[in-house]
């Protein structure tokens, strides 16, 4: 069976967090692009877990082709990482950074999947850790007319059925659908495997296949953003913490509890 895994390249969210914490995040002249070249570009962590989910099918004896695709400026490094993890095919659809929105990405991914004669299963991350939107898989599901099973901690294939354990606020829920289907993977799936040095060395020479808007029969109009990002800025945090002093932990504790009681925060 053919499994397509959609991966996005993002700026390392921990590095962004660190720059913000130290008041050093830089935003470019366009008022929206994060410009620090020192922030590493990584595969979105949930997408790495989506690859891991697919590799586990293979561990369990499911015969499958793993086709990893990325819409982005130059995702060669993360696609090589995908190959080192065990992807059979890696493909990039080049677009300029920041030039497409989720709607356009979904259209490109849908056209890509169709150009490959469809897929039995499409795996995505639950959300991209840059924009946190989590809309591409649902939009893709609409375009390809497939059910979308979200926030999975476990995915099992049983014949042409996919069974997914979802992490819901009420606890785990188990759902099923017939393939073809789209599943979005959450971090609860667990740590993705680390590629062996041998595989990493081999993947280093790989050049990803390239699909283009033209080869996918998409016009510039087709991928014009519906949702246009116009501005990005650092969120402000108040920062007026009152520190509770005391010679011992007991002193600090009593002082805090007294304050919270005085303010009727607690009884």
């Amino acid at each position: 069976m053919r499994i397509v895994i959609c991966v996005k390249e993002v700026l390392d969210p921990d590095a962004v967090d660190n720059y913000v914490l130290h008041g050093k995040l830089e935003i470019g002249d366009d008022g929206k692009t994060l410009t620090q070249t020192s922030i590493p570009r990584l595969m979105n962590a949930y997408d790495e877990q989506a690859i891991e989910a697919a590799l586990r099918f293979r561990d369990n004896g499911v015969e499958c082709t793993l086709d990893v695709v990325c819409v982005g400026a130059d995702p060669t490094a993360i696609l090589r990482q995908a190959a080192a993890m065990g992807a059979d095919e890696i493909t990039t659809v080049p677009v300029e950074n920041g030039s497409v929105d989720g709607h356009a990405v979904a259209k490109i991914l849908a056209a890509y999947v169709q150009s490959k004669g469809g897929a039995d299963l499409i795996l995505c991350g639950r959300q991209a850790s840059d924009d946190d939107q989590g809309v591409v898989p649902a939009l893709l599901g609409e375009l390809l007319d497939m059910p979308v099973l979200t926030i999975a901690r476990d995915v099992q294939l049983e014949g042409d059925r996919v069974r997914v354990t979802r992490v819901t606020p009420e606890g785990d829920e188990i759902v099923e659908a017939s393939c073809p289907a789209i599943v979005t993977i959450s971090n609860e799936l667990g740590t993705p495997r680390y590629p062996t040095t041998m595989r990493t060395m081999k993947a280093r020479r790989l050049q990803p296949d390239q699909a283009t808007l033209e080869s996918l029969s998409l016009s510039a109009d087709d991928v014009r953003p519906v949702v246009a990002m116009s501005k990005q800025y650092v969120s402000s945090v108040q920062g007026n913490c009152e520190f509770i002093d005391g010679a011992t932990a007991d002193d600090q504790a009593s002082a805090l509890i007294a304050k919270l009681r005085a303010e009727r925060v607690i009884e």
Binding site: P13, V16, D17, V20, L25, K32, G102, H103, D130, D131, D132, Q133, G134, V135, A138, L139, P147, V148, R163, T168, P169, E170, G171, D172, E173, I174, V175, E176, A177, S178, S186, N187, E188, V226, V227, A228, M229, S230, K231, Q232, Y233, V234, S235, Q238, G239, N240, C241, E242, F243, I244, A249, D250, Q252, A253, L256, I257, K259, L260, V265, I266
Partner: protein
């Protein structure tokens, strides 16, 4: 397009009225007023008792309801079909949802189905003359992004503590029953086993004591649970310690966990990464215990204790019990 602006809820079976609904209505009314259009509330499925009263307080013009036996188990294909049917009858210019767990899937599916733009994690909205500018969080709350959508839009709104309390401007909403033909819609997703956490939920807790990696060892999570119990609250956790199995996912607070809105949130040994803070900055009072005086969490906290949580947590439990 001077079509009504619609706030939509469909959680009757699960949540009743979703937490934060009034903040969304506050935002919705602002846009409806700017456009000079009606604000309507669409309830899909059973209508929770409080809807009419809340709608009246927020100046809602119509409370629409799609009630169909098939919607009893609100499942995605049926919900999206019901909403899309409503959109084709009423063509709302803007459809807003509280960003519940289910809405994270329903909003973008609906947008795709009806050809509208979709934005999630919205904390503020502004009318741009028919279109809308949505402000959303990104990078787990580290940054905010403004998006412009020229045409019809579907947005998922997260409760923002900065939003004002809803002002009163009462109306007497007219109830309308909306018929959508769901006869031909088959649900493609079958529930094999329902989620079954019984009892209180972190989202509803008034007091939360949360622990993070600063607790050092799995056994020490009990210190958090003991203080939570002494305060009559619930225990929360940061993601790394949930990942390591110190407690289960139901306790995870943050971007990929629970969005909580307690009166008191006490964070012990939590650094204050944006992805965690998204889940607790709506707390009325935030207290942090951390050995590092420069920890990011102190930027958010009203009260801070610089100290070892392994000592401070038991001391707090003692102080609470000691009266």
């Amino acid at each position: 397009m001077s079509n009504a602006l619609v706030f939509c809820s469909f959680d009757a079976g699960r949540d009743g009225i979703p937490a934060g609904a009034e903040e969304v209505l506050t935002l919705a009314r602002k846009i409806a007023a700017a456009r000079g259009v009606d604000l309507d509330w669409l309830v899909v499925g059973a209508k929770p008792a409080a809807v009419d009263e809340i709608a009246a307080r927020h100046g809602v013009a119509h409370v629409d309801q799609i009630d169909d036996a098939k919607l009893a188990e609100a499942s995605p294909d049926l919900l999206v079909a019901a909403l899309a049917g409503y959109v084709s009858q009423h063509s709302p210019g803007l459809l807003m949802m509280t960003q519940t767990f289910d809405a994270r899937l329903i909003a973008p599916r609906l947008a795709g189905r009806v050809g509208a733009g979709v934005v999630m994690n919205v904390v503020d909205l502004e009318d741009t003359g028919g279109g809308v500018k949505a402000t959303s969080t990104a990078y787990g709350g580290d940054t905010r992004v403004e998006y412009d959508i020229a045409g019809a839009a579907v947005v998922g709104v997260v409760a923002d503590p900065l939003l004002p309390e809803p002002a009163s401007s009462s109306s007497s909403p007219e109830s309308r029953s909306v018929a959508v033909d769901l006869g031909g819609v088959d649900e493609r997703i079958q529930v094999v086993q329902k989620a079954s956490t019984e009892g209180p939920r972190l989202e509803d807790a008034q007091i939360i004591v949360a622990g993070g990696r600063g607790l050092q060892e799995s056994e020490n999570y009990a210190l958090v649970e003991r203080l939570a119990e002494a305060l009559g609250g619930m225990a929360g956790a940061s993601r790394p310690i949930v990942d390591d199995g110190w407690t289960d996912t139901a306790h995870q607070v943050g971007l990929t966990g629970k969005i909580t809105r307690p009166v008191l949130y006490l964070a012990a040994g939590i650094s204050g990464a944006s992805q965690h803070m998204v889940g607790c900055t709506a707390a009325k009072t935030l207290v942090a215990i951390n050995t590092d005086p420069d920890a990011a969490i102190f930027k958010y906290a009203q009260y801070g204790i610089v100290g070892d949580c392994l000592e401070v947590l038991p001391a707090l439990t003692k102080a609470v019990k000691g009266g």
